[in-house]
Symmetry: C3
Subunit: 243 residues, 3 copies
């Protein structure tokens, strides 16, 4: 799967819906046993959740958007396929969540590329299932510190913290991803799938049990005038940077 | 906050009560957003819980003392403020718990300074919430081994195990702590606070749900003649060392 | 305890029953406070669960065998004694579980010796309590990856991942194990035992609560024709290798 939604692969409602349908098709296609995620856009894996979907819209829109985010994660974190992130650019916030939900993460060895759950920098908060996914990858202490500071880690730092599994030169990233997929597919599917489910079920179930509550929580939080103001300021800053 | 209770900053009932009132005031003072803990006494951050409070006293006294220990931890681990431990001396047992409950731990780079939950060396047992706090910092395996052996780790070892976040030369400790506070305060308060609460709530709730049971458990354990004997022997040993 | 069941210390029903009775005797012998596990057979600590017990037998036999596996683990993981694994050879699958259930693991510094929970390589699945034990030692991420791939790690890699606590030259393994036991026995028994129980109780209770369900789950899984076929193929492969 190549993310290609210029300029920065923002995870808009349309993008998430299309991705969800695509993943569902692959999941149900018994000939497809693995998927590699990468970006067709230089320097950016994905910019994360599209802030324009969270700003100045109706509460119904916020709820619909959030359900789409939940659905992608449920599908990806619980996928029976082997999932590999070939991270060939920066990967903040929601984009980092996608990477963390894969079975294996390879990142281009470029210290300019950063990755992390930096929500708190924007004045918003990663929900509990972002946190659970992160803790399952890096442990409680690293997650606690990184989430509170909203840290974006350079590729070498991400490797050291365990956020990604290995770094390779960018030109070798796709070959390496294919090699990793081959290694994982060498295992009997049913044994690998049952094992994966055993590792992830409790965290998946936690969102499934609280899914609607989590939507309401998001809508209530994002609708606050103070949060809307934070997001508008952040978007202004992004525009100025580009300008 | 500078601990200054000669000779060794033992956490007596009076000291804990004063600290609790002080922390409550700071917590309620909206102008105060961060607190740094350090010691005014050379070579010792704090000696930990005052053993004289646990030895030869009434069960009522033990219960009162233990509630004070619980309250400090609930206040500190659940604080909305940025909390930094500037550990400028040794930090055993209850003193280590205070450090582990902060958001960030900086220790003076002196291999003679030690830190750890060494309760089992004294024949007593760190309760489940000491353990939960420790596991959240260093993970299950390091906690299991260190708690069973009652290990006191030198500063370099503590860094390697993740018990502290960094070591700096003692003369730079306070400046570094101030710089860390500035870094953490650069984040929007509400996002940082909600994130912190999300990371720590389940462990805090566990004590809140079992608080009175934990008091009774402590009182029952500490009142045993065998435990009292262990503590008296330990105090004798300390006195001889000083002599 | 020296495992000596040629040719490869397979954990057969007889072997497990004998080991269980032996451990129970030691546990009830107040003069015995520690136990070291090692192998009397060169190059192999133990080959793990005996596959012949899981292949071509009755469902009653499978159930009896699985209860024996559960009982060994419950006894070992919950032992009041200090338990040290002196791993002087390879230690796959069920053999790795025994090592992981000890308080401390020392492995011979020989890169040809491997250790890991490689069940998925055989098309079978490590049950949740194997997984819980593994996660408690190495954390969630390393366990997730290693279990899905059914990895067997060389001794140096096992040290790096935290599967074992230290490597020593094979000729010094027994002396080192004795030294470790002495170090752990220097602590007051009751404090060490209560602490150990506190660290392990939730994982032990999880199997105790689901013990019969876990037996039925194993019997149902292992009785499948597809699984039986996998195991027969694996045994054929082993025979050819030897031949």
């Amino acid at each position: 799967v190549k993310f290609k939604s210029p300029p920065v692969n923002s995870l808009s409602l349309d993008f998430l819906t299309e991705l969800s349908i695509g993943l569902e098709k692959l999941e149900n296609n018994r000939g497809c046993r693995a998927v590699i995620f990468t970006s067709a856009i230089p320097k950016i894996f994905s910019a994360g959740l599209d802030i324009t979907e969270m700003c100045g819209k109706s509460t119904e829109h916020y709820a619909e958007f959030w359900r789409a985010v939940q659905n992608i994660w449920l599908r990806l974190y619980g996928s029976n396929m082997v999932t590999v992130a070939a991270i060939n650019g920066s990967s903040p916030a929601g984009s980092c969540l996608l990477a963390l939900s894969c079975d294996y993460r390879i990142m281009a060895d470029n210290p300019k590329f950063v990755i992390g759950l930096n929500e708190s920098q924007l004045g918003i908060v990663a929900p509990f299932w972002f946190k659970d996914t992160f803790v399952n990858v890096v442990g409680h202490r690293i997650a606690e510190r990184s989430l509170q500071l909203g840290s974006l880690h350079s590729a070498p730092e991400a490797l050291q913290l365990g956020i990604v599994d290995e770094l390779v030169p960018e030109e070798k990233l796709q070959d390496k991803a294919a090699a990793v997929v081959a290694q994982w597919l060498a295992l009997p599917d049913h044994a690998r799938q049952i094992t994966k489910s055993m590792m992830r079920k409790s965290v998946l179930d936690r969102l499934l049990t609280h899914q609607e509550e989590d939507v309401q929580n998001f809508v209530g939080f994002i609708s606050k005038e103070s949060i809307q103001k934070s997001l508008r300021m952040y978007m202004e800053m992004l525009k100025k940077r580009k300008g």
